[in-house]
């Protein structure tokens, strides 16, 4: 969704040249796709390496290195055919052997990759010819398609090396739209356009990734054009970038991020096992007030685990009305009434009091907790806020189930599979159904959703999951925050889509007269 459309410009033909300077809070750590677990490494690796598949701007799975792919009718075999004439940045041919090599490193127990779980169901991977790979699964696994978006790494450069410590981690050779040029730790990573990229050469000659660890400095650098692209905070978006001068110099975008903030109930607690109590809390929390209060309106109310853009989102589910009376009625049915007239609901002589826990260091989350505390007080529920350092919070309270209600957020991948969050088998210490949710129908649907590849069928399944979760309220889904990128207005062809703005980076360009950085010799 466009918020500030750049003023209509005369049609121009894209020209090569100029550089894009991106500001980032953190530095990268390892520039190899199967080891890149932090977001900065992910940003860079995504420009150097492609996967077999990718999401397009409408969040559909399409071929990337793979020209075509085939799912067998029983869902057990995936066959990928690579595009012809793929080349590494050093000129070597990229073949099916590289794909096999990548897979073998991913499942190699000595490689310190956190991504191996997605390949556990693979029975075998065969190279049929230099352009064809066949993957056999033990059982059908639809989220597997997403796992083949993993960047492919070069066999000819990495074979026989210890992948954990190879110098390649800091001077990678990829095959993507940009080539690695240099990395000054803690300062800058520089990439240069790949002249031979299979789609077409990126228009922008260079991609510079500046590491600026302070949000305020990042913003000042943006104002003075030291960087071209950054993410804004809601406050910066609404209050500090609204002058006409800034509107002229920058394009601002706004689209929902893939994640949601929620209240999670410990369902072992008798009070929260009663679905009426959870529904009542959902009715009594005014999500729009939260979004206005802490995100300056830059978010949307959530009704389930999917953002509106996802095909798994059921649009028939409306955000619940803010209705204190209905909430009181539900609580009354559950036996919670203010019998002693002290303003707090009680049952069997116990007032309704619980600890709302969240992690330290997240200002927005602290404010949300306070607003919820105030809103629940109107209902007669006493929520005590406790803010705990992240590691302690996870290890001592979440993992050991020592909480009543937590305020947290999930950032999820684009595939709607949420087996790990809500399936009743995922409740061991360290697993993610820490609330202890169990609904046989949800269990069945979550398994089925993994076994079916057809998107229409999966859509029906996950919309049903969305509906059931909404009715059961194991979480109170609060809101989906918006992503708020801002970019210098000299860049053309930047558009916001459900997947964000970066998907067509190779088409961005700057008209000749506006180019800021001199052309580099190729």
């Amino acid at each position: 969704m466009f918020v500030l459309l750049p003023l209509a410009r005369a049609e121009e033909t894209p020209v090569a040249g100029d550089a894009l300077v991106v500001g980032s809070i953190g530095d990268a750590s390892r520039l190899v796709p199967i080891l890149a677990s932090d977001s900065a490494s992910g940003d860079i690796v995504g420009l150097l390496f492609n996967g077999l598949l990718k999401y397009n701007e409408r969040l559909e799975i399409v071929g990337d290195l793979a020209e075509s792919w085939l799912v067998s009718p029983d869902g057990l075999t995936l066959t990928f055919t690579l595009r012809p004439h793929l080349r590494w940045h050093d000129g070597a041919a990229l073949t099916a052997e590289d794909v096999r090599f990548t897979y073998e490193r991913l499942i190699d127990p000595a490689v310190r990759t956190p991504f191996s779980s997605s390949y556990e169901l693979v029975q075998s991977l065969e190279v049929l010819d230099p352009r064809t790979i066949r993957v056999q699964y033990k059982e059908p696994f639809a989220p597997a398609l997403e796992s083949w978006m993993m960047g492919i790494i070069p066999k000819h450069l990495l074979e026989g090396q210890d992948l954990n410590t190879t110098p390649f981690l800091r001077q990678p050779v990829g095959h993507g739209p940009y080539k690695f040029k240099r990395w000054k730790t803690g300062e800058l990573i520089e990439l240069a356009a790949n002249e031979d990229y299979f789609e077409h050469r990126p228009q922008l000659d260079r991609y510079l990734y500046r590491i600026i660890p302070d949000q305020a400095t990042l913003f000042l650098e943006l104002l003075t054009h030291g960087i071209d692209l950054a993410s804004l905070t809601p406050l910066q978006y609404q209050r500090q970038t609204s002058t006409p001068a800034i509107a002229r110099q920058f394009q601002k975008f706004r689209y929902p991020s893939f994640g949601f903030t929620y209240l999670g109930y410990n369902l072992q607690d008798a009070r929260f096992r009663d679905v009426r109590v959870r529904q009542a809390i959902n009715l009594a929390i005014d999500k729009d007030a939260l979004i206005q209060g802490v995100l300056y309106g830059l978010g949307s109310a959530a009704t389930g685990p999917y953002p509106k853009e996802s095909w798994a989102y059921d649009p028939a589910i409306r955000p619940p009305p803010f209705d204190l009376e209905a909430a009181r009625r539900l609580l009354g049915e559950a036996g919670w009434l203010d019998r002693d007239g002290d303003g707090w609901l009680d049952r069997e002589g116990q007032a309704f009091r619980f600890t709302l826990m969240t992690n330290q260091g997240n200002e927005v989350r602290r404010q949300v907790a306070e607003l919820i505390q105030r809103q629940l007080k109107l209902l007669g529920i006493d929520a005590q806020i406790r803010i705990i350092e992240w590691s302690v919070f996870v290890h001592e309270f979440i993992d050991k189930r020592r909480f009543e209600v937590v305020l947290l957020a999930w950032n999820l991948s684009r595939d709607p599979d949420i087996y790990d969050l809500f399936h009743s088998s995922k409740t061991k210490e360290g697993e993610y159904n820490f609330i202890g949710y169990s609904n046989p129908e949800v269990d069945r649907l979550l398994i089925e959703g993994r076994r079916v590849f057809d998107q229409t069928q999966r859509q029906a399944i996950y919309r049903r999951v969305h509906r059931l979760l909404y009715e059961d309220q194991p979480y109170t889904f609060l809101y989906v925050p918006d992503a708020l990128p801002i970019i210098d207005s000299r860049f053309r062809h930047v558009v916001a889509t459900p997947i964000g703005i970066g998907y067509n980076l190779i088409d961005w360009y700057v008209p000749q007269p506006e180019q800021r950085y001199r052309r580099m010799a190729p």
Binding site: A19, V21, S29, R30, S37, D38, P109, A110, R112, P114, F115, S116, S117, S118, E120, N164, T165, L169, R170, K184, T185, G186, E187, L188, L208, R210, I211, I212, P213, D214, A216, T217, L220, E221, L223, T224, G226, E389, W390, S391, V392, V394, H395, E396, W410, L412, S413, I418, D420, L421, K428, G430, E431, Y432, Y517, R518
Partner: protein
């Protein structure tokens, strides 16, 4: 000589204790270096998380981990970072020159400014100059560093556009002739160094002032004046030299500070120095980097103390005599 040897040998058990304590504390803090990559990511199964911990040797009992670390240290090997698997020593070497450079510059400027300021103020206690410097240095002492940093950035960087806001180099500075590069570097350093000097003036200049006031009250100064020495000789030869003695002690304490860097300044000005390295390592539970920095810091602190003692003994005959006795 024997005094020196005894002092050095006495440091070894202290160092051992410091490393055991910091190793224990570091591991007592909840969380593991592998958490950032694996935690709260539904795509990472429990088994994979445990395997990652095994691969880094984090499943071993603490004494075993400490013994491994110590045996590596004996071979002067600080191990590899858990974050990017690079040798810790490389990571430190990469950051050290900037931090030492900035700190030496700051210390020189602070001392160069604070000693004359303090001494001058002490000559005329209560004068306008004395009061003005007091207000000035305490302004620097009490203003929050990050706030001042942002204000000068907004003023000189955004409003006036005289100076770059953050970082060390302009984007394509590598291609420039060296004189331009040096000018570029100086422009980038002006704001952070300026702020750091301003906020640390107070300490040394106040020390200098009180020490000088103290000395000027001594009998030997009165004697020197009484025997008709010119005032400049009284102040510089007899006064200043004696007033500098306690200041030398402080210099010794500054040795470890030279490599520690400032988290706040380096973060705000986006300078890749030691402060940020340490802070980020603690946050990520990067045990290898933290332990290396703690150990180096401890060694330098002890050396600094030793150096101050030696310098003191050299400057003040009374100490030499009493040590020998």
């Amino acid at each position: 000589m024997r005094y020196l040897l005894g002092r050095v040998l006495g440091l070894v058990p202290v160092l051992g204790l410091i490393t055991i304590l910091s190793f224990g504390l570091m591991h007592l803090a909840p969380g593991k270096p592998t958490d950032a990559a694996t935690q709260f990511n539904p795509k990472v199964s429990l088994e994979v998380r445990q395997r990652m911990e095994q691969l880094y040797g984090l499943d071993q009992p603490l004494p075993v981990q400490y013994a491994r670390w110590l045996s590596r240290l004996a071979r002067l090997d600080f191990g590899r970072s858990f974050i990017d698997d690079r040798p810790v020593i490389t990571k430190i070497a990469e950051r050290l020159p900037l931090t030492i450079g900035i700190n030496v510059l700051v210390v020189l400027l602070v001392w160069g400014l604070a000693i004359p300021l303090g001494a001058w103020a002490a000559l005329r206690p209560g004068s306008v100059f004395d009061r003005a410097t007091t207000v000035f240095v305490f302004l620097g002492y009490s203003v929050p560093t990050f706030w001042l940093a942002l204000i000068v950035m907004a003023l000189f960087g955004v409003r006036l556009q005289w100076l770059p806001i953050s970082g060390l180099h302009s984007l394509d500075a590598e291609a420039w002739p060296w004189a331009w590069q040096a000018w570029d570097l100086a422009r980038h350093l002006l704001l952070p160094v300026g702020v750091m000097v301003f906020v640390s003036l107070a300490g040394i200049s106040r020390y200098m002032r009180s020490s000088m006031v103290e000395v000027l009250r001594q009998d030997y100064i009165r004697t020197a004046r009484a025997k008709g020495l010119p005032e400049t000789r009284v102040v510089f030869h007899h006064g200043l030299r004696n007033a500098l003695l306690p200041i030398i002690t402080i210099l010794g304490f500054e040795l470890p500070a030279l490599i520690s860097g400032s988290v706040v300044m380096e973060t705000i000005f986006a300078l890749p120095g030691m402060g940020r390295l340490f802070y980020e390592a603690v946050m990520a539970r990067d045990y290898a980097v933290v332990m290396a920095l703690v150990t180096i810091g401890a060694v330098l602190t002890m050396l600094g103390n030793l150096l101050a003692d030696v310098a003191y003994a050299w400057a003040d005959p009374r100490i030499r005599v009493s040590a020998r006795a």
